[in-house]
């Protein structure tokens, strides 16, 4: 339980920081770097979420379907 609360805060934190980085880089003019940073942050978080969704589906399989 505690471990997963940590991950929630991690996701929110990465989201906010990536938003700031995006704004700062945009203002300077390096729009492509901003887009890259956002994309990579998004992919990283996507990996976390995908792994937990996979966990979820495995558990559902084991509880409901007994296979």
């Amino acid at each position: 339980m505690g471990l997963e609360v940590d991950i929630i805060f991690k996701i929110a934190g990465v989201g906010i920081v990536v938003a700031f980085l995006h704004t700062v880089l945009d203002q300077v003019g390096k729009k492509e770097y901003a887009q890259w940073v956002t994309l990579f942050g998004f992919i990283y978080i996507l990996f976390q979420v995908a792994s937990i969704v996979d966990d979820l589906f495995q558990k559902i399989k084991s509880v409901f379907l007994y296979q």
Partner: protein
């Protein structure tokens, strides 16, 4: 607890790096301006004071602050102590101090060119060469001010934010 100390350490380190890089951007116009003042005083000394080169350089070294003072000091020392030409002494002293300044390759070329014309021609053409170098440096200074305005704040915030990102990722 150790984690917290490590996290604070990482943030401080990256913020400091950001500040260092932004300092480079803010030092460049200042040093360019100091260089221009130095050249103007050199011109005044040569034209109206008729002082020899190493004496003028020594006086300039006393007036300026680091790192330009080190430059003129080593230049005048080379002229008095060793038997090199003005051009070589100028160039070697230039190379010696260049890494400790915030100036870039453009100014280096300009100063090198200037060094090649030192002490060769009469006073009028010397003055003209000095004016030419001054104009070049002025243009570089305008460039530097523009770069500073754009990049200074950005690099500082970039440093801090990347530190934050790193500790959030590693947490």
């Amino acid at each position: 607890m150790i984690k917290l100390i490590g996290a604070v350490f990482i943030i401080v380190a990256t913020t400091w790096i950001g500040f260092e890089i932004s300092r480079r951007f803010s030092e460049r116009p200042r040093q360019l301006r100091a260089l221009r003042t130095a050249l103007q005083s050199l011109e005044a000394e040569i034209m109206y004071g008729h002082t020899p080169l190493h004496e003028a350089a020594r006086r300039l070294a006393e007036q300026l602050s680091k790192p330009l003072s080190t430059f003129f000091e080593s230049f005048s020392k080379k002229l008095t102590d060793t038997e090199t030409t003005v051009k070589e002494a100028w160039e070697t002293s230039l190379r010696e101090i260049w890494n400790s300044t915030a100036l870039k390759q453009g100014e280096f070329e300009v100063m090198k060119q200037f060094g090649e014309t030192l002490g060769r021609h009469d006073r009028i053409s010397q003055q003209k060469h000095i004016m030419l170098t001054l104009t070049h440096l002025e243009r570089e200074e305008a460039d530097a001010i523009q770069a500073q305005v754009t990049y200074e704040k950005m690099v500082k915030s970039l440093g801090f934010l990347s530190g934050l990102l790193l500790i959030i990722l590693l947490f």
